[in-house]
Amino acid sequence: MWVAALLAVTLLGSAAVMLSPDRYAGKLAAAISAVPALASVYMYYVFLTQNGGAGNALLSPGEVAFGQQIPWIDLAGYQISYYVGLDGVSMPLLALTTILTTLAIVSAWTPIDERQSQFYGLMLFMETSLVGVFAALDFFLWFVFWEGVLIPMYFLIGVWGGPRRKYAAIKFFIYTNVASLIMFAGLFALVFNTDLTSLALPAMAEAFRNASGLPTIAGFSLATISFVLMFFGFAVKVPVFPLHTWLPDAHVEAPTPVSVMLAGVLLKMGTYALLRFNFTMLAETAQALAIPLAIVGVVSVIYGAMLALAQRDLKRIVAYSSISSMGYVILGLVAFTPHGMGGATFQMVAHGLISGLMFMTVGVIYNTTHTRMVGDMSGLADRMPWTVGIFVAAAFGYMGLPLMAGFAGEFLIFQGAFDAATLGSAAPVLTSAAMFGIVVVAGYLLWAMQRTLFGGFSLETDYEVGPAAFHDVAPLAVLLLLVIVLGVAPDLSYDMIQHAITPLTGGGA
């Protein structure tokens, strides 16, 4: 019921905001989105205190929290139902989504000044879809939400974006949509070759994990082919090298609150789906393909970081560094160790908070300076001390400073991957190579900070540059606080994550 309520509130809220006058839309949307945010915090609290030891939603569906199943459609012999539920993986991501949406909506008050009711309505609609993606336990339902995210995102980039918004929006839409198609093909090739009667994810997991006698095509098992197709489909969303080029364009063109959602939550859809589909349902294939997948992850880490080094646009820097950070997640997932996969899941949450914070901070600076180019401005610390202070803190969080969430995620991934049995003797080498990302990330963020924040103040404007408004800085402070809290006490999330992850890994380091 709780999940249904979240979906209903955001969907109805979306409609209400669309119909409201522009003047009130922002405040109304913030108030409406505060409801699911607070509700999910309460759900989180309940989960933490009562369901902390719940297992994996796909492997032991009886243990999910806030579960609900209502039969819906009987399609060509496949039973489809409205089936939702949360486990230790989806609960933190759900809370991340609702909290980040509220903060993103508040951060939109300053920059969004036209078609406000539509903007906030679409933001809430996106929240509905995102909540659905993380909560759905039926494939059909999940896919509806999965694709449903694209629609508001397309308009949010295409209408409120920067100068090349149309290019970016179309590129984003087509790229991810084609990827969904390929994933769909891979998945259904498997569905049709097993005796499934239901499209519920737990049923799929059971059928795929125990599938035997799958046909082989050109010498490859269907499981391998489907795995690759699905990996391709989800990897676009993550994104990993070389499927990443939609991301910098989308980020640069999207308005700040949309970038926040894009980096903070949308990218996690990709890794979440990878975890749920590829690494849960086709675990054996994933382990067999661990080394090439790990190489993909490591290359993403280093490649993304190196590209970030070459950028001048602050948003582009953060966008490329997202590619780098998500590469760690891939590495952690393929390790198939509790800390590796758990760290990867934790990193999704941590990166969601930190990249959201980074984009929001860049946005606050942009609201004031109207430029994001390193080199166009310097010495901002002189004029907006608190914003810059948070920027510095966020940047260090991004660099993996201990006692901030990013470090916990990265360290756990490294720890889990370093002696991963799936990677064999390549594990220490690959892990060490990925770790080098922490040096490069420090390089470009420190460089960008030195150029923009410090030194004598200079910026060509015809107005006085001053501190940002309270409602601009407050979401930053909230996010920073969350990052620090999760860094000091990772177990607030990590404990439930581990309980959901360990059934997959079957012990180990």
């Binding site: 800390h339 370093f418 390089g443 030194g455």
Partner: protein, 697 residues
């Protein structure tokens, strides 16, 4: 042990002062300084209490917080390890930090600086991070606070962010140490993966070991051949000792970065851009000391690897000499001190590498005192000189600021290693350890030690020279500028810390007068006794961090042996005489050259060599080139590749689609006859296809 119950407060007090200064500093008198002084003062008192408890045979190694509770996996925890080493270091850090806070009243508040809350918040966090690092009982916690120390150095070196220099220096400091920390992190992860624990010392309950430590596990693996539980060895395909050497060297990467050893020393001279009290804190007690302290903390792990020991000794010896030569020609007082810091930490590394664990800790202690003193003295001079740091603009300050002069002189004599000041005793012991182990060990280890000893010995002469060049240029002769003729006065808050440290710099060496102890037979080598722990009982049997245990390991596993060609006493005295002689020679040479009322720059006679030294052997240039000349163009090339090739393929696919569409749509000619023809053609083709497939023909 009541003291241990309150030990976490040692770390938390400065942290609270950080929060107070940050959020309420601008509403408090002195911009949050009082909070910092109170907190570090409290920490100092608690540290004294802890040290007294440890002196009474107390020992504490407990977990206090579970950071990540592993489910079917490694649990990561925070804990306190309070033993003689950490208790001593706590004393040093809290004392120096306390004095630096007081000095800052004079250096920052009285000089009318803005942003004081930020400054005192930084100092508080810096102190808290370092203290957290010192008390850490496992490698992960140590790493985390090690990184926080790096963050604080960034914030404080870049304190004057409105200028161009400090932010750049701060960036460099963080980046270069981060490069070292990369290896450290790999080492930490590797150690956890190998041993399943990062504990420095076993945790015991009622005499039973409940959590084993990694140096002990490594020792078991190497000495007793218990490699069974260590699955990592199969993964990497190395023997136990070889793999542990790799891990040790990886951790050493972090040490080389933070302790500014060659080749990652380049950040430290630039870090002089920060406020001088911060330099004192960084150099004497916190960041730079952290590296050496880490090696001492996990010495049991290094003591089983002769290769790692040889590398440490060589890096240390080379750095000692290398940095000392660069210090010869510097013109700014803080630059000379910066290079002397690098050089002195080289000595500590030399001692650690050559089996002189106690000597290294001793030098760490004395150096903390006299280097803090010298920096604070330099700060006093800089206040007087209205923030002009060039020694060639000074001169004759001796009579105008006697307190500063005499305390600075005390620190200089200690730095140069002149009897009986602190530096003499510790540096002498460092060199003595290197010498006897170089003479007594066999094979490559002996060669490495002798080479490292030779470099360290040569550096003694240079140390004496640059130290007294600095003293004479700054304080003696005639004033060479208007500000030097009429210097700005300093108040009690500057003189007080100087006086305390000045007295300590003269006397702290007495805690370990090994030559005197050897000659008279009196048991006055207190530090030896301190680090060895009580002879009997007192400590749990499992305690493996005593210097006795390290000596056994060094001797039995690494093959470090002592050779004393002139007999025990003779070798000791000969070594002391040689190093004292060289120090006096260096100091004397500087006195000869720079004594007069109007000294000239004699080092100009070095010609091209001077240029080389002034440019620091072009170390900065090649490292900057690595960053901006190599990495950045590479990144740009990759960006081109990304935009051109990777994104090009994506855009190419859409272009092909668009192009194909634009061609195919031309069959939509608008002429009905054509449509009809195509329709007919399609029908005919379809019929033909069906016919062929159905076998109609």
């Amino acid at each position: 042990m009541a003291a241990f119950t309150y030990a976490p407060a040692i770390v938390l007090l400065p942290f609270v002062s950080f929060l107070v200064a940050l959020f309420a500093g601008d509403r408090m008198p002195k911009g949050g300084a009082l909070a910092g002084i109170t907190a570090t003062g409290g920490s100092l008192l608690l540290s004294i209490w802890v040290a007294l408890t440890v002196a009474g045979g107390g020992y504490h190694n407990e977990f206090i917080y579970t950071w990540v509770a592993g489910v079917e996996s490694v649990t990561l925890r925070f804990g306190l390890l309070l033993d003689p080493l950490s208790a001593l270091m706590l004393l040093i850090v809290t004392l120096i930090s306390f004095l630096v806070h007081i000095f800052s009243l004079g250096y920052m508040n009285d000089e009318g600086e803005t942003g004081l809350p930020r400054y005192y918040a930084g100092l508080g966090l810096f102190t808290a991070s370092m203290l957290g690092f010192v008390v850490a009982n496992n490698l992960l916690m140590a790493f985390m606070f090690f990184e926080l120390v790096g963050l604080c150095s960034y914030l404080l070196i870049g304190f004057w962010f409105r200028e161009d220099g400090p932010p750049s220096a701060a960036k460099k400091a963080f980046l270069v140490t981060r490069f070292g920390d990369y290896f450290f992190l790999v080492g930490v992860v590797g150690i956890f993966a190998t041993f399943g624990t990062g504990l420095f010392a076993p945790v015991t309950q009622n005499g039973e070991v409940v959590a084993q430590s990694f140096p002990v596990l490594a020792e078991h693996a190497v000495v007793d051949g218990e490699t069974g539980p260590i699955a990592m060895l199969d993964t990497v395909g190395l023997g136990a000792q070889a793999w542990f050497t790799v891990l040790g060297l990886l951790v050493l990467g972090g040490v080389i970065g933070k302790s500014a050893q060659f080749p990652l020393h380049t950040w430290l001279p630039d870090a002089m851009e920060g406020p001088t009290p911060v330099s004192a804190l960084i150099h004497a007690a916190t960041m730079v000391a952290a590296g050496v302290y880490l090696v001492a903390r996990m010495y049991g792990f290094y003591a089983i690897s002769p290769t790692a020991l040889a590398v440490i000794a060589l890096v240390g010896g080379f750095t000692a000499l290398f940095a000392a030569t660069m210090g010869l020609v510097k013109q700014e007082i803080k630059q000379v001190l910066a290079y002397s810091t690098i050089s002195q930490y080289g000595y500590m590394m030399l001692a650690l590498g050559s089996g002189g664990y106690i000597a290294a800790v001793f030098h760490l202690t004395t150096h903390a005192v006299f280097k803090a003193l010298l920096f604070l003295g330099a700060g006093s001079v800089i206040i007087a000189m209205h923030h002009n740091e060039n020694m060639w603009d000074m001169g004759g300050l001796k009579d105008k600021m006697p307190v500063t002069y005499y305390t600075f002189l005390s620190g200089s004599l200690a730095l140069a290693g002149i009897l009986p000041f602190a530096g003499f005793w510790s540096k002498d012991e460092v060199l003595y350890e290197a010498l006897i182990h170089g003479l007594g060990s066999e094979g490559g280890l002996a060669t490495a030690y002798v080479l490292a000893y030779a470099m360290g010995l040569l550096a003694v002469f240079f140390t004496g020279f640059y130290t007294f060049r600095m003293v004479f240029l700054t304080f003696h002769g005639d004033a060479r500028s208007d500000t030097a003729r009429d210097p700005h006065g300093v108040r009690w808050n500057v003189k007080g810390p100087l006086a305390v440290l000045g007295v300590l710099a003269a006397t702290v060496g007495f805690i370990n007068m090994k030559p005197v102890a050897e000659l008279t037979g009196a048991h006055i080598d207190f530090l030896h006794a301190w680090l060895a722990g009580p002879d009997e009982g007192g400590w749990p049997a499992a305690l493996v961090t005593s210097s006795h245990h390290y000596e056994e390991l060094l001797h039995n596993v690494a093959g470090v042996a002592a050779g004393e060609p002139l007999g025990a006493t003779g070798t000791l005295l000969a070594s002391a005489a040689v190093s004292l002689g060289l120090a006096l020679a260096g100091a004397g040479a500087a006195t000869m050259l720079y004594r007069g009322p109007d000294p000239v720059e004699h080092t100009d006679k070095l010609g091209g060599l001077k240029t080389l030294l002034m440019h620091n052997y072009y170390q900065d240039e090649y490292q900057v080139w690595l960053a901006t000349g190599l990495t950045h163009p590479l990144a740009r090339a990759m960006d081109k590749f990304d935009q051109g090739v990777v994104d090009g393929v994506v855009n190419g696919i859409s272009s092909v689609s668009l192009f194909g569409g634009s061609r195919i749509r031309r069959i939509q000619s608008g002429v009905v006859n054509n449509y009809a023809a195509l329709l007919t053609l399609g029908l005919v083709l379809l019929l033909a296809a069906f016919g062929l497939a159905g076998g109609w023909f």
